[in-house]
């Protein structure tokens, strides 16, 4: 991100997953012919953005990792069906979106990390710097969005997708998506004011 005179500017090209149909299409075509290295490059390119989307949709890091791994493997199996007239990211995310939706409905209740849980203790001592209070608060605010609104918000603002791309990924029309993004922003506005009130 850049910071100029106190204002923060949104630069979608600085996100992890920029959209460039040409290189992706080439890699996807090679992957469809069995070139695992080519697919690996796609994985490396999109993994982070898939993971952050899944983390917010499933609200659990471990489930998110599983969902993303599943998605990337399924996408590899289905790569022959990818049509490069659609941006690769939209196609990949359409699988991820469905995977998250399926998992959110299917999975059994996962316990929060009770203090007695050894794994939780192990994790607690892992060298993970806690994020600033603001980042946590932002995540909580987004997690509180209703799922359909959250999906649209994440793809628009965090992943920087265009509406036509979102339409393929989410299986909804552009005007419905615009409405959902607007409602998400409306819901977030008061929370973000609290968080960022300088």
């Amino acid at each position: 991100m850049t910071q100029t005179g106190g204002a923060w500017y949104y630069l979608p090209t600085m996100t992890h997953a920029a959209v460039e149909p040409a290189p992706d299409a080439g890699l996807a075509a090679r992957a469809a012919r069995g070139d695992v290295q080519a697919y690996e490059q796609l994985v490396r390119h999109y993994h982070a953005s898939c993971l952050r989307y899944a983390s917010r949709m499933l609200r659990d890091d471990a489930d998110a990792e599983d969902a993303v791994q599943d998605t990337l493997m399924r996408a590899f199996l289905a790569i022959a069906r990818y049509d490069d007239r659609q941006p690769f990211r939209a196609w990949l995310f359409s699988i991820l979106v469905n995977r998250c939706r399926t998992l959110a409905l299917q999975r059994t209740r996962r316990s929060r990390r009770f203090p007695h849980d050894e794994l939780a203790l192990v994790n607690a001592t892992a060298p993970e710097l806690p994020a600033s209070g603001r980042e946590d608060a932002v995540r909580t605010a987004v997690d509180d969005l209703e799922p359909l609104l959250r999906e649209a918000f994440l793809l628009k603002y965090v992943e920087g997708m265009e509406y036509h791309e979102m339409a393929s990924a989410l299986g909804a029309g552009v005007s419905a998506l615009k409405m959902r993004v607007k409602r998400a922003c409306d819901a977030l506005r008061p929370r973000l004011r609290e968080i960022y009130d300088d």
Partner: protein
């Protein structure tokens, strides 16, 4: 302006949400390892079917089933080059040949020839391509085409009668699967005799299925 401030807050929030997590690199490595493991030469370890549910998932290189318990796995023996186009049906129900009963041909406006199997799509531009429907019903006084594409409205798509009793109409349809039927004289629900039948029989007489293809990477012959 408060609007600017709100928009900036949204952008800051988006930026915060893009912050990488501590486990990201490990998670990525897990995926790469899994990919390499699944595509390596030689037997790649115990069959997934014999695993129980999830296994320990912390740490590097964790082994986990490819697909969870409770979902259906797909066998990955990737089949020989079935191009994407094949999945969209190639628009070819050979039932669309001329037989004297009914047939369907590509309307003249498609760019491409009419093959022996009827509709094919060599036009790559538009998402909708005109499809001609025809039903030979010399004794009918009116015939309507109904289907998902016109909300099953009998008034939406009346057909025109050609000499000899061939009723016809051309309609632009999007790629994909369409279900339709003909209503003869406002009373008889008639499927297309030469098209595949739709399986659902909830309301009595069955409908017909049409697959309109999106592209023609492989020219059929």
């Amino acid at each position: 302006m408060t609007d600017d401030r709100d928009e900036r807050n949204l952008q800051r929030a988006a930026m915060a949400l893009r912050a990488p997590g501590a486990r990201d690199e490990d998670a990525l490595n897990d995926v790469i390892e899994a990919l390499r493991r699944e595509t390596a030469d030689g037997d790649t370890g115990e069959p997934v079917a014999s695993r129980g549910g999830r296994v320990e998932r912390r740490g590097r290189g964790r082994r986990r089933p490819l697909i969870d318990r409770g979902t259906i796995r797909f066998v990955a023996g990737l089949a020989a080059g079935i191009a994407f186009a094949a999945g969209l049906g190639l628009g070819l129900f050979a039932g669309w040949r001329m037989r004297g009963e009914s047939y369907r041909i590509a309307a003249e406006t498609t760019t491409g020839r009419v093959g022996p199997t009827g509709v094919e799509a060599t036009s790559m531009e538009s998402t909708h391509r005109p499809v001609q429907f025809m039903l030979v019903a010399p004794a009918a006084s009116r015939v309507a085409l109904v289907g998902e594409f016109n909300d099953w409205d009998p008034a939406a798509t009346p057909m025109a009668r050609a000499p000899g009793g061939a009723w016809h109409v051309a309609l632009p349809l999007a790629n994909g699967r369409h279900v339709y039927a003909f209503i003869v004289d406002g009373t008889s629900w008639v499927a297309d005799p030469q098209a595949p039948l739709a399986p659902e029989g909830w309301f009595g007489a069955r409908n017909s299925v049409l697959l309109v293809s999106g592209q023609n990477r492989e020219q059929r012959q």
